[in-house]
Amino acid sequence: MRQALSPDDVKRIARLARIETSDAEAQATQAQLNSIFDLIATMQAVDTRGVSPMAHAQEVYQRLRDDIVTETDRHAAFQAVAPAVENGLYLVPKVIE
């Protein structure tokens, strides 16, 4: 029987997903997530030994591109929609290593 998610679990996953979640929100989400997980639980018991996972519908392999440069400089257009740009660089709060 799957363990239900605790509010701490919710907060931990929210951290992984970089979504700020208050304790109240974690509580509220917890119940909904648990009901979704109950839904999902029905598939866990199925015996799938010997079944190969299906990632793609067709048995096709990756097409390869020739190694040539096809792109031009469009940074002006792309950066027109950026929140913060200076000297062609995207600005973010200082990264501490």
């Binding site: 997903a17 979640t21 979704i36 799938t48 079944v51 067709q58 950026a82």
Partner: protein, 485 residues
Amino acid sequence: MSETSLSALAAQLAGKQVSSRELAQSYLGRIVALNPSINAFITVDAEKTLLEAAAADARIAAGQAGPLTGVPIAHKDIFCTDGWLTTCGSKMLSNFVAPYDAHVIQRFKAAGMPSLGKTNMDEFAMGSSNETSYYGAVKNPWNTAYVPGGSSGGAAACVAARMAPAATGTDTGGSIRQPAALCGITGLKPTYGLVSRYGMIAFASSLDQAGPMAPSAEDCALLLNVMTGFDPSDSTSLEREKEDYARDLDKPLAGLRVGLPREFFAEGLNNEVAAAVDAAVAELKTLGATPVDISLANSKLAIPVYYVLAPAEASSNLSRFDGVRYGYRAPDYANLDDMYCKTRAQGFGAEVKRRILIGAYVLSHGYYDAYYLQAQKIRRLIADDFSEAFKVCDVILGPTAPGTAFKLGEKSDDPVEMYLNDLYTIPANLAGLPGMSLPCGFDAKGLPIGLQLVGNYFSEAKMLNVAHQYQRVTDWHARAPEGLK
């Protein structure tokens, strides 16, 4: 209303009975009149539309028109459209003017079909009622107290209300078919890989497909001809010989074996829907089809499998929305990490956040095998069920949705109840098979009922044939909501 079929419009344009500009203006007028009560559109830009229409007229005049040149179309706001706001129904992209065209959009531009605007949708395509949009819910034109279905709710509603002769939608778990059913129009999800996903904002990469939404199967066939084709920018795009999807529309149905999965006619299905679908089967019998009893035994697992795979892929696809290079950025934050967390908490709605959390969880350390891998294996079982079924039938038929449109707000508190709407549509996405919905009746409240066809890989022409023959002897698809003139 068949004067507004795409082929009729194209003929009128060719015969100079109407210009593209006039058509565009007519539809723009209806949008202005009706959109306030339907909320089908997020962005309308009459100036841009009329410019495109003028260009189409020039092409027609120069004798360089394609089959649908000059016919306008609305686009789901999930397709990046150069110079147009492209929001995906989300606050996260509420300021995002796309700097490039999706491949699908490029095809419509090449076909000379002016854009009427960007249609409303569930946020990031996650939803079955178009109630999760940042831009407000879309109303069902048949009864504005009811939902149109989702996630392509805006597209379905605008076609149903005749605000556009056609629209593009996308379908990951039923998001073209289910709203088509709830709004009484025809919608088709092609075989996975036939329509390029480049520029189509990704929800679940291995399931997403774009497709046409229009009143009739014939319309959908013509649109499919524009939308399909190999795109080298999409690694999952299939390279195949070009097909004319309208080529088999007029074939008689004699000898057609129609598979009826018993799991799609079991409990959970609304009586009125069952009755309408049964009547449709009877109709097809008179056209020469033979019903065949089949079983898709693993289809009951489709929903749990889908709610592992789709959120998993989505949780990763949506990581790029971080306030760094485009889109919403939180106004106040203490540091980089805080910026990420606040931007994403504020930019995403509740349903999107829920699915990201589910996705992150099922992929997280220690859970991959039990959830993701298990789901991929069951996916194989579901696809195998279909392969078996197609040995004894040519096309599979059932209801598109377990019920008709529900009231706004009725199911939005319980995510699981909402998810059950996609019961019959999800299996085709998991298998990568083509599916379509066409209208087959109304319930006592006057709300549309849709029937679903699922075909074998690359059998769109056959599905469209079946649908078209049905639509020749019925008029469900020709009806439009009253009081919307």
